[in-house]
Amino acid sequence: MCLRFHILITAITAVVILMSYEYMATQQIRAGEYYSLILLGAVGMCLMSSAVELVLIFIALEISSISTYVLAGFRRRAAISSEASVKYFLLGSFATAFFLYGVALMFGATGSTGISVIAQSLRAGNTSTLAFAGIALMFVGLGFKVAAAPFHIWTPDVYEGAPAPVVALMSTGPKAAVFAVLLRVLFEINAPGRLGLIWVTAALSMTLGNLSALVQHNVKRLLAYSSIAHAGYLMMAYAALPANGIPAVMFYTATYAAMNVGAFAIVSHLAGAGERYVTIEDYAGLGRRSPLLAAALSIFLLSLIGIPMTGGFFAKFYVFSAAFQNSLTGLVIIGVLNSAIGAYYYLRLLVVMYMKEGGQEIPIAPTPLALHAALAISIAATLYLGILPGRVIEFASRSVRDLTQ
């Protein structure tokens, strides 16, 4: 399982670095430590997805979090960026404290911090209140990291303030790693009472994320709420049976990474110096002025909506059918209704790009080679997952055995 997540995380990191070159130049940020922080974060994420011991998971979580706290404040001249950094740091520390507390309780309940020992102990009938509280607290900490409601409050502000390539990274990389941890905590440990927790979080995230996204004017905030909603769809898969849920989770994280990194690559390119052009209106007339960028962004948006031929469709598809197979009809209906709501705000951006003409047109810089490469990788991944998902889902299904002996 860790191999698959490592591939995903390193791919995300590579694409984010590709799109950062140009961004750092236009924002006039000279900082070698930027790249080293990204790489440090990647180490933490990889470690997180392969750790099978709760304390090690905690350390990995801290490594990746600390690098993202710093990265979020990298636009030093912008107050909003520093605000994002502080907010993220304070709330994030809180969340990791919750996680650590959960680990401690778990240790108290089972006498171990090794995942497999805990799983055995619980399977042997140790379902004390302490174990349940431990799971719940760990879930709170992890839920914060993946921006699932009701632990999502920090997301829009941080995403708005942080540099766009960093948002691309932190909305996909650490999330993927934390989803891997959740696979272990929820599926491998076979957490007692997980269904109720997940049901509520998934339904809340989808609904709050989508409804709030409807009224956003800032593209970064819009994508922040959309990422909350997507965390909700993803959570649904944890409520399914392991045999269907695990591949669905892995497929969804990969697809979400491809489409979201791609969308942010374009957002960061268009933002211009000081990230001035990030409202929806700024995208007016993009379809005419820069057909290639507009076409690329449309592919990512259509995938986020979940239109066939794109990865987003199959991602939702696997999640919904996995939930159906566990008879979670109510949750699926909430998810289906939410996808319909979600279509509206992505569509708004599409409409503005193709059907509106801008009053004052924003300057569009020529696209450098590295950005082309970043976009090409994201588009290829989004379409590949949408047209030939068979091999990837097959690959993901092999993890089922690793997690459920």
Partner: protein, 505 residues
């Protein structure tokens, strides 16, 4: 080479020829003239290829023909399964028939972003044909959603007036409704592990799907909502007039001619095919909605000051006939419904082209702006009259056969519905003839209209095929009906079984 070697691949060939053309177009330079000719060539190629279907179709056989079944994605178990019966065969041919005409009619009216326009048009053609030839529910849903984007973009980019409002409304209505269908499809897959229509139908009839009896009512509704919005059935019809009025001519032609039929085709194939018991249980209120659609659509059409809106509401009325015919569960009703779908596609497609030509000349659809057009534009007026009368349902033109069959089917099932439905024919004569009189007869009231040019060679080439088709379908309906009827009879088998069970009790 034997032509029958083509049989297994012909459907893929027809479906993907336009897409291949669209991809080639991406790489062609932006020379508008060449792009137009190229698109015309590609769409004609698809049409010629599609003629293989009626020529080599075994008319007496009820099942699916030209089948191709290949595994596409192993998990979930999705197959690339294509095939046509007597109903979908003609809908696919209707699509390939109308597309070249759409290219011709857009020859001069689309001047900006020409390349994108024809790419969208060809992608739309592929998606539309795909909907009719798919036998795998997943593949069907895939094509169904794929029609949405090119159509919304055609309306939003090339339309006029409140085009963005219309495009978004169109997109959201269909998208939200089809989500329910997706949920129903997923349920079926979760319980059976297959998307294959034929396998699902067999399993449903044999009672092998767990929990099917308790869930079938909801599943029926899930499918039905998606189709009813597309048809559009009253009260889901409000997106249609907006979409039509603002859409470019080619968009309107494909929207009225083919897109709406996706809904009625879906009811025929999936609602009746998978859920016969639920279809019968729900037939009452659905028929009432269809009747409301027939009468209400006609009455609203009558008072429309806008030519295109009038034709749009007439579509609501005509599609009401189709739904009424389908839910009569009689052979006549179903064959008639299928025939109305085809006839409406030809005649209304033609009427939209005619309205578009008038708009090109005068940039308005307001009926009161015109009057006495028969004097400056005699050929145009004559063509308009043929297609308008076909839409009214004059005997010897195509509208008559279908509506007659639908009404006789409705009489057999419930006489009152037949009587009410029959008034729809009278209404349609009222609003269409009245409109014709106001636009074409009398003196030329508006001086601008006196100098209007009659239709030229290109426009005739676009229009006359629809007029000829309307006449041929009216004179020799058996050419179509003898392949439609065997398929209809096989669709009705579960219904006659139910009926005989009821009688037996």
């Amino acid at each position: 080479m034997n032509v029958h070697d083509l049989d297994p691949v012909i459907l893929s060939l027809i479906t993907f020829t336009p897409l291949a053309g669209a991809i080639l177009l991406l790489f062609l330079p932006r020379r508008d003239r060449e792009i137009r000719w190229f698109s015309l060539g590609i769409s004609l190629l698809a049409f010629v290829a599609s003629l293989h279907l009626p020529v080599h179709f075994h008319r007496a056989e009820p099942g699916f023909q030209f089948e191709l079944d290949k595994a596409w994605i192993p998990t979930p178990n999705i197959h690339y399964h294509l095939g046509v019966d007597g109903v979908s065969l003609w809908l696919a041919v209707l699509t390939t028939f109308l597309t070249p005409l759409c290219v011709l009619i857009s020859w001069r009216s689309v001047n900006e972003r020409v390349k994108e326009f024809f790419i969208l048009l060809l992608v739309l053609e592929t998606a539309l044909i795909g909907v009719f030839v798919s036998l795998d529910l997943f593949l069907f849903y895939f094509f169904w959603e794929a029609t949405l984007i090119p159509m919304a973009l055609l309306i939003g980019m090339y339309g006029h007036g409140r085009k963005i409002y219309a495009a978004v409304k169109f997109f959201l209505y269909t998208m939200i409704a089809s989500m329910f269908m997706l949920a129903a499809i997923l349920w079926l897959y979760a319980k059976t592990g297959t998307f294959d229509f034929i396998a699902l139908q067999r399993a449903a009839q044999a009672g092998q799907i767990p929990d099917f009896p308790s869930a079938a009512g909801w599943l029926f509704l899930g499918f039905f909502v998606a189709f009813a919005v597309k048809v559009p059935l009253f009260p889901f019809h409000t997106w249609l007039p907006d979409a039509h009025v603002e859409a470019p001519t080619a968009g309107s032609v494909l929207l009225a001619g083919v897109l709406l039929k996706m809904g009625t085709y879906g009811m025929l194939r999936f609602n009746l095919g998978l859920f016969p018991l639920q279809a019968r249980a729900n037939a009452g209120w659905i028929s009432v909605l269809a009747l409301i659609g027939i009468i209400y659509g006609a009455l609203v059409a009558m008072i429309q000051p806008n030519l295109k809106k009038l034709i749009a509401y007439s579509s609501v009325s005509h599609l009401g006939f189709v739904v009424l015919g389908i839910f009569s569960f009689t052979a006549a009703g179903l064959s008639g419904a299928t025939f109305v779908m085809l006839a409406h596609g030809v005649s209304t497609g033609g009427l939209f082209m005619l309205a578009g030509l008038l708009y090109e000349r005068r940039h308005t659809y307001e009926i009161r702006e015109y009057g006495g057009l028969a004097t400056p534009m005699p050929v145009y007026s004559a063509t308009f009259m043929v297609l308008m009368l076909a839409s009214v349902g004059l005997p010897l033109l195509n509208g008559f056969i279908g509506e007659f069959l639908v009404l006789s089917g409705a009489f057999q099932s419930r006489p009152l519905f037949g009587i009410l439905g029959a008034t729809g024919v009278i209404w349609s004569a009222c609003y269409l003839l009245w409109m014709y009189q106001r636009v074409f007869f009398g003196q030329v009231r508006n001086a601008v209209n006196a100098g209007l040019l009659d239709i030229d060679g290109r426009e005739r080439t676009a229009l006359w095929p629809t007029a000829v088709a309307a006449l041929v379908m009216g004179v020799a309906p058996l050419l179509w009906l003898n392949s439609i009827e065997p398929s209809i009879h096989s669709m009705l088998v579960p219904f006659t079984q139910v009926a005989s069970k009821v009688v037996g009790q």
